[in-house]
Amino acid sequence: MTDLIPLTALGATDLRSERLGALTIAEDDSYGLASLTLRKGQNAPTPFGLILPAAGFAAQSGRTSAIWTGPDQWLVLGNGQGQTDFAAQVLAQTPNTSVTEQTDGFVCFEIRSDAGGPPIAALMSKLVNLPPETYATGRATRTGLDHMTVFLYRREEGHLSVLGLRSYAGSLWHALATAAERLAQAA
């Protein structure tokens, strides 16, 4: 085990979390991420027992989940695998596919609501140009947010994960927090 101490995507030693009205936005670095792409003629495997989801959807099984990112391509998320070589684990589960390590490619902000879906829908209406059904529970999609590219993954009615490029973490946090703050202020 290395003795190097990692930094969060926001450049601190501690994960950032802020409560703004009905919403809590929290940085989460516990996920191991790997992208999985099928090669020609391959059938979709079932890594960690996951049935890989169709376009626009996500799937979860135990501590592993996957979101569709493109034709024959998924982003696999391993909860608690942020410090491991998660890509190697995914590859072991899906031999001969193309697997790429992405754990630190993305920052993950978890948005939780204590008033169900409406505050999340209100927040997203300020940030992404998508009809709400595209980020309904169990769905995931990639879209633009303040000129950045993000994945939205609605885990539960009151829980949305936003994954953005790690280098944009500060700007993405600013966008999310500013919008949430304005909603809290207006409420």
Binding site: A55, G56, G70, P71, T134, R142, T143, G144, T149
Partner: protein
Amino acid sequence: MLIPHPLLGLRDSQEFTYLGDASLMNRPDPASPSAEAEFCDYVFLRDNPAGVHRELWFHEQGDRSWLVVTRNTLTHEILGAELARTLPVRGAE
């Protein structure tokens, strides 16, 4: 504009990057005796129709698919969109 993505449904055109005439998929045969002239046509000459136009759009803030969108340039009416990767390659291998 809204682009009817074959897999993801209607998506705002702001998610896409525009390239242009879908004839760019018809790359000439580099081994052809007249390859240079054919490549000149391919690279530099485009139809610019006032009307129905097949064109390439990249879903940059989406699933990274290249789409061939058929659009009426006069009305912006979109007549269809297909995944480029599923279309027959008409250029020479």
